[in-house]
């Protein structure tokens, strides 16, 4: 009996050591931060994965690249309706001049990122596959600022929202959701906490890290604006523990402000996913199909917030972006500041060029980034990194049979079952898909990453989400028809 107990203790000990050694990052995360103790709530560990950090460029202060000869500015760099083009061929434009105005509520203004002449108003295929209008501008290299740019006058909340809307800012963490829509809360008393997303959990990307280090003061100015106009008095900055310099800076700045908590999170992908971040900071679960506001939270990316503060001070709309250029096909990994609309080719060439022919180039990091079809694609508002992979890194994975190990379901942060989902998808079982909550999937890629058989689980999930959406729409239409009869 004693030996059995002893054996079990040894087994558990080994398991814990294994956890400790393999699952813990180099820097200790705070076990239970103070603010979370105040909040209380459930203690559940969300699943996630350990991925290589590859934050090679964390120490590279961003450098401004040479202004490209031509920029292509798409009218849709956000979620929602594309902006309406308001310039025509031959027009002279200057930096910050409005060239596309927001069309409808969920839309965003687009500004010229260079000074020069409009070469043509064209149509292009976006990375999502839709045809969208775009403005091609030949730069004169002078980068003259538009004359009408001035500090926005803001006295109250509606004016603040209008200013944010005019700046053309969208979620700069990658989502591209127009920021003013998020801030446009009907009942301000519902907002208890603003969670500032500085997790930056994707490999390679360090543009948010640089924002915190180089523009930390702007982040806190932005917090000041939110306090003033939105009457919010609790802010949590969520940072993964692989950014010690950024954490130090944020903590130093937060020391003067007792309404701001810096929450050091373990480096576990996808820490920056909205649902994951909200749970790990305030211990509340965003309901399915709902918004963070349903649990009294607004989530805003740290770079977005810093930009809003900078805009309030200078009045220059969103015309350039800090971008991490990295990957095995890039000669010199670094952070650069580039005008929006710069082609990827121009960007990488003026950032040191390619080491070899790139085989795969991504908007964003390797976990959720979108592979671009050509190097002519422009830099968008929500582009935070360009990762270029060489042929070896981009080699397609060999898919083998599922061995039923359960790694996918045991690593899904939202506790979905990708294996069951792909089965239901193949069987066209839409009711089953609804039951499995496939629409909850945020496509973070944990399941595909851990799968020993390299099954394309994210792909199946995406397809299944589409199938379920069509099914539900049809079902609704049928029901409406029945009721009409």
């Amino acid at each position: 009996m004693v030996s059995v107990g002893f054996c079990s203790i040894i087994i558990m000990f080994v398991h814990m050591m294994h956890r400790l050694i393999f699952y813990n990052a180099m820097y200790p995360a705070e076990k239970e931060p103070d603010h979370r103790k105040r909040i209380g709530g459930r203690k559940m560990r969300l699943h996630g994965i350990k991925i290589p950090h590859k934050k090679n460029t964390a120490d590279c202060a961003p450098v401004r690249i040479e202004i490209p000869a031509v920029v292509t500015i798409p009218m849709s760099m956000h979620i929602g309706k594309p902006a309406k083009v308001i310039v025509k061929r031959g027009d002279t434009v200057k930096v910050g001049q409005l060239i596309g105005e927001a069309d409808g509520f969920v839309s965003s203004a687009v500004h010229s990122s260079v000074s020069g002449t409009v070469q043509k108003v064209d149509e292009m295929t976006s990375s999502m596959g839709a045809k969208i209008p775009c403005v091609v501008i030949a730069s004169d290299g002078k980068q003259e600022l538009y004359e009408e740019i001035r500090k926005p006058e803001v006295n109250d909340f509606p004016e603040f929202v209008t200013a944010v809307k005019a700046s053309g800012v969208v979620g700069l963490g990658g989502a591209g959701f127009p920021s003013f829509v998020k801030l446009c809360v009907k009942d301000l008393s519902k907002v208890q906490t603003v969670v500032i997303n500085a997790a930056e959990c994707e490999p390679y990307i360090t543009s948010d890290t640089r924002t915190m280090i180089d523009k930390g003061e702007y982040v806190f100015e932005g917090i000041g604006y939110l306090k003033k106009y939105m009457n919010v008095h609790h802010f949590i900055i969520g940072i993964e523990n692989n950014k010690p310099e950024a954490i130090a800076k944020m903590k130093a700045l937060a020391a003067e402000d007792d309404e701001v908590d810096v929450c050091v999170l373990p480096s576990q992908y996808p820490q920056g996913g909205e649902k994951v971040l909200v749970y790990n900071t305030v211990r509340r679960i965003i309901p399915k199909g709902g918004l963070p506001l349903d649990v009294g939270v607004i989530v805003i990316n740290v770079t977005t917030l810093a930009f809003i503060a900078e805009y309030m001070e200078k009045g220059i709309p969103l015309v350039e972006k800090c971008i991490t250029v990295d990957g095995s096909a890039v000669k010199e990994p670094k952070n650069v500041i580039a005008p929006i609309g710069t082609s990827i080719e121009d960007l990488i060439n003026s950032a040191g060029g390619f080491r070899c022919d790139p085989a795969k180039v991504l908007y964003g990091g390797p976990m959720m980034g979108i592979a671009v079809p050509s190097l002519k694609e422009p830099i968008l508002k929500n582009t935070n990194a360009i990762v270029a992979m060489d042929a070896k890194e981009a080699a397609p994975f060999k898919t083998t049979a599922c061995i039923g190990c359960g790694a996918c379901m045991n690593h899904c942060p939202l506790r979905l079952d990708p294996k069951a989902i792909s089965r239901a998808y193949k069987l066209d079982d839409c009711e089953g898909l609804a039951e499995l909550c496939v629409d909850l999937c945020m496509e973070c890629g944990c399941c595909s990453y851990v799968c020993p058989a390299n099954r394309p689980l994210v792909q199946t999930n995406k397809l299944a989400k589409g199938k379920l959406r069509t099914y539900l729409t049809n079902k609704k239409a049928e029901q409406a028809k029945k009721e009409a009869k």
């Binding site: 009996m1 749970y279 671009v372 050509s374 039923g404 379901m409 609804a434 909550c437 890629g445 990453y449």
Partner: protein, 313 residues
């Protein structure tokens, strides 16, 4: 410069773990037990292991060629099946019977159900049970030659048979049980080697502790309740081999944490039922096979609840 760019869906990186690597880890974890079997039973055990592994690989290759399926022998799963089957055979098994068992394991139990990941029952366990029924004589011919007093090989009982018959004179000491110096199947006798392999698998993250812990704890607890010698019951028979290597097989056991615990407890209960009240001295393989059948239900019962946060699914 403008070459063709690969355009595929995210994620664009993948973990290092592959099926092949997992199977290699299991093979490495089985090596101490293989070495122990050679020391305890002599070189013939090496022959049995070799024959089983070779037959399994050849059968897998042949069947897949015949059915024009993708060749999967390099994922090493057939090697694992061969090793596990050999570990479940007595050293005196005729070679043709070992070949037959391997054929059953790979072709009937694994490939006919669709190959790796599709079989509902553990191939090695099922093949062993079929052989036990078909060749009950040779499958229970326990030979142990390690006793220093008798230089020639003699037939001897396994510790469990000795315990069942109450012949205390033939019951080995705890230390002999732990080191495997007694009659039994090739790989099951040396508890030390199996525990070593199990620890390796735990550290590598190939298996989780839930199933083995639940399995062994249930057997221990039930032995205690029934007033049997707890340590003797845990260390003898195929319990450790089954709990560490067979009850943790991916495709035939539940993938969820609670599923694993239920599976382990179920295996433990059936093992105890067969050992104490059944006709057979040992019940580990039957218990795992029976629980394999329940696996889909257990998995369904213990499925993770998606994080819907109060919203109705």
């Amino acid at each position: 410069m403008e070459g063709k760019l690969i355009s595929v869906v995210s994620p664009h990186i993948t973990g290092k773990r592959t099926t092949q690597r997992i199977m290699l880890d299991v093979i490495i974890a089985l090596m101490p037990a293989a070495a122990a079997s050679v020391i305890i039973f002599g070189l013939r055990s090496l022959l049995v292991i070799g024959v089983c592994v070779a037959t399994c690989v050849v059968c897998e290759f042949g069947f897949e060629k015949l059915c024009k399926k993708d060749n999967t022998i390099f994922d090493l799963s057939a090697v694992v099946t061969g090793l596990l089957l050999a570990f479940n055979l007595p050293v005196s098994i005729p070679i043709w019977q070992a070949v037959f068992g391997s054929l059953v394991a790979i072709v009937v139990v694994k490939q006919l159900f669709g190959g790796i990941g599709q079989n509902f029952a553990n191939p090695a366990i099922t093949a062993r049970i079929i052989m036990l029924t078909a060749f009950s004589g040779t499958m229970t011919n326990w030979i142990y030659s390690g006793t220093p007093k008798t230089p020639d090989a003699v037939s001897s009982a396994t510790p469990l048979i000795a315990a069942a018959k109450g012949t205390t004179s033939m019951m080995p000491s705890y230390l002999d049980l732990f080191l495997g110096k007694h009659g039994g199947c090739l790989g099951e006798t040396c508890a030390a080697a199996i525990i070593l392999g199990g620890l390796y698998l735990l550290v590598r993250g190939v298996i989780s502790w839930h199933t083995p812990a639940a399995f062994i704890a249930t057997v221990a607890l039930m032995s205690f309740v029934c007033g049997r010698d707890v340590l003797y019951q845990v260390l003898s028979g195929g319990l450790l081999l089954g709990a560490v290597f067979m009850a943790t097989d991916y495709s035939t056991t539940p993938p969820t944490k609670w599923g694993k615990i239920i599976f382990g407890v179920g295996c433990g209960l059936i093992t105890i039922l067969i050992r104490f009240w059944g006709n057979l001295p040992e019940g580990v393989s039957f218990s795992i096979l029976l629980m394999n059948i329940f696996t889909p239900y257990i998995t369904r019962l213990t499925r993770n609840r998606p994080l819907t946060g109060g919203a109705r699914a």
